[in-house]
């Protein structure tokens, strides 16, 4: 699903965020990306979302080289990827339902399908009773569940999450991780960046360790 070959990203004059990263993540895998702050976890996710372009090496997703996509191809690619961020990135002026259906609306899906699909996914994350609430009326865990619902609503092949439990307490973190496990059990590839070793142990999946922008090790947590 994801393949990198000598992948690198530098900022300014020789400031490496990622260096010579060669990595393969298979389709349907659940992988944790971990390491200390500044290790390059978020940079790799930004490259995978094409928010930034690599300065070295190859980045392939689904057999497609992401280095040379046009502006419209980038948008088409992003429709196949779901994303979840630590700060939720919800639109404060829209309700829970609108935040999720928004992802379908901008893709031009007919309104009845938008409504049906949005309701299904919000029910799946357990927020069917908060459809008309605004983000500021929700707890942190609820906001992150809305973000997960939005990431899943267009049935992506790949879900990327950058510190998705960073703002949540341990119980809510486990709840969110359970949702990611369920997503993965449906065949979706999941890549979660986190520095929470306890959470990684609890979920027990493959771990990719980054340090100073380089691959420092890979292991399967017990």
């Amino acid at each position: 699903m994801i393949e990198t070959q000598g992948l690198g990203k530098t900022y300014g004059r020789g400031l490496y965020a990622l260096r010579d990263l060669t990595l393969t993540i298979d389709k349907g895998e659940f992988v944790f990306l971990t390491g200390p702050s500044g290790a390059g976890k978020s940079t790799l996710l930004r490259l995978l979302l094409l928010q930034e372009r690599p300065t070295e090496g190859q980045l392939m997703v689904g057999g497609r080289n992401l280095s040379h996509l046009t502006r419209d191809e980038v948008q088409a690619y992003r429709r196949t990827v779901g994303f979840v961020f630590q700060d939720f990135k919800l639109i404060t002026t829209k309700t829970v339902f609108e935040n999720v259906s928004f992802a379908l609306r901008v893709l031009g899906m007919p309104i009845d399908q938008q409504r049906r699909r949005t309701y299904q996914v919000l029910k799946w994350v357990g927020l069917q009773h908060r459809l008309n609430a605004y983000p500021e009326e929700l707890s942190g865990g609820e906001q992150q569940r809305v973000a997960i619902a939005r990431a899943l609503v267009n049935e992506p092949h790949l879900v990327l999450a950058d510190e998705p439990t960073g703002n949540l307490d341990p119980d809510l973190s486990l709840e969110i991780m359970n949702l990611f496990r369920e997503i993965n059990s449906g065949g979706t590839t999941v890549l979660v960046a986190t520095h929470d070793r306890e959470l990684i142990k609890w979920v027990g999946r493959r771990v990719v360790l980054l340090e100073h922008g380089r691959l420092a090790g890979a292991e399967v947590a017990p």
Binding site: Y77, R78, T80, K89, I91, R105, V106, R150, N154
Partner: protein, 295 residues
């Protein structure tokens, strides 16, 4: 066209949030378009006056005082034989003096104190109208000036055409001024749209991340500009109409004497459409320009 309905919804909401800055933007556009509308109003009515004068343009052939009757008769026959001529009327020296005294009674003394009647006899020639007739009349005016007994030829169309050239120059200058004002208005719209883009930055980031097409991402900005431009032009049309009513009431009767039946007229459908279409186009272009900031 779901992007279009989305663009209108978002643009409307964004204008609601913008409030005062949107109102300032509409005001700036309105000022620019009032200038354009005022210029069109003057232009339309001056053109009507010129058209009227052109339609009634005459060729006056002034005779030498010593021109014998047979020369005058030959000249009259020559003129009547021309296809462009509708009618020829002889105005004697005495009739010319009487007409002057009737038209300018306050100057009667000036004319009577002179030893001799200073007014020449003339042939007043009424001409056909139309472009082809205008060319023929030009040729006739040139040919008749060299004929025996002719002292001078005055052709109304020439000074009207000089006036027309002046008016055309005025139109070009007016268009340049209106263009500069509209450019200023476009920059104001672009600034307001840029503020809205800033306010919607999070939403735009998310739209980009979910792979929204650029028509969705940039559409609201273009529509926002379109609405601001259209509103500004509509306000300007209303102000120009009020201006027209005020001028009509104050100089309506005098204007009717110059322009003819109906006196001053408001802008026609073409000019109204030009203003509204121009406002929409300027606004949309400014919105599109501002939206280019979203990469």
């Amino acid at each position: 066209m779901s992007w279009l309905s989305y663009a209108f919804e978002e643009a409307w909401a964004s204008l609601g949030r913008a409030g005062r800055s949107a109102a300032i933007s509409v005001g700036t556009i309105a000022i620019a378009f009032v200038a354009l509308g005022g210029f069109l109003l003057v232009s339309v009515n001056v053109q009507r006056a010129i058209d009227r004068w052109l339609a009634s343009a005459e060729l006056s052939v002034y005779l030498k005082d010593d021109a014998p009757d047979d020369q005058r008769t030959a000249l009259e026959e020559y003129l009547k034989a021309q296809a462009v001529v509708v009618a020829v009327e002889f105005i004697s020296k005495e009739r010319a003096l009487a007409r002057f005294q009737a038209d300018f009674p306050e100057l009667t003394d000036v004319a009577t104190t002179l030893a001799d009647n200073p007014f020449p006899g003339s042939l007043e020639v009424r001409l056909r109208t139309g472009a082809q007739a205008a060319d023929q009349a030009d040729t006739l005016a040139k040919s008749v000036s060299g004929r025996p007994g002719v002292a001078d030829v005055r052709y109304d169309r020439r000074w009207i055409e000089r006036l027309l050239a002046l008016v055309t120059g005025g139109r070009v200058a007016g268009a340049i001024v209106a263009g500069i004002l509209m450019l200023g208005a476009a920059f104001t719209v672009a600034a307001v749209v840029r503020l809205s883009l800033h306010a919607r930055r999070d939403e735009i980031d998310i739209m980009q991340l979910v792979g929204a097409p650029f028509s969705f991402i940039r559409g609201p900005s273009v529509v926002e500009g379109l609405l601001l431009g259209g509103a500004g032009a509509a306000v300007a049309l209303l102000l120009v109409w009020v201006l027209y009513l005020v001028i009509s009431r104050s100089v309506g009767a005098d204007a009717a004497g110059v322009i003819g039946e109906g006196g001053l007229r408001f802008l026609g459908v073409t000019e109204v459409m030009l203003m509204l279409g121009g406002g929409l186009a300027v606004g949309a272009a400014a919105g599109a320009l501002a939206a280019r900031a979203v990469k």
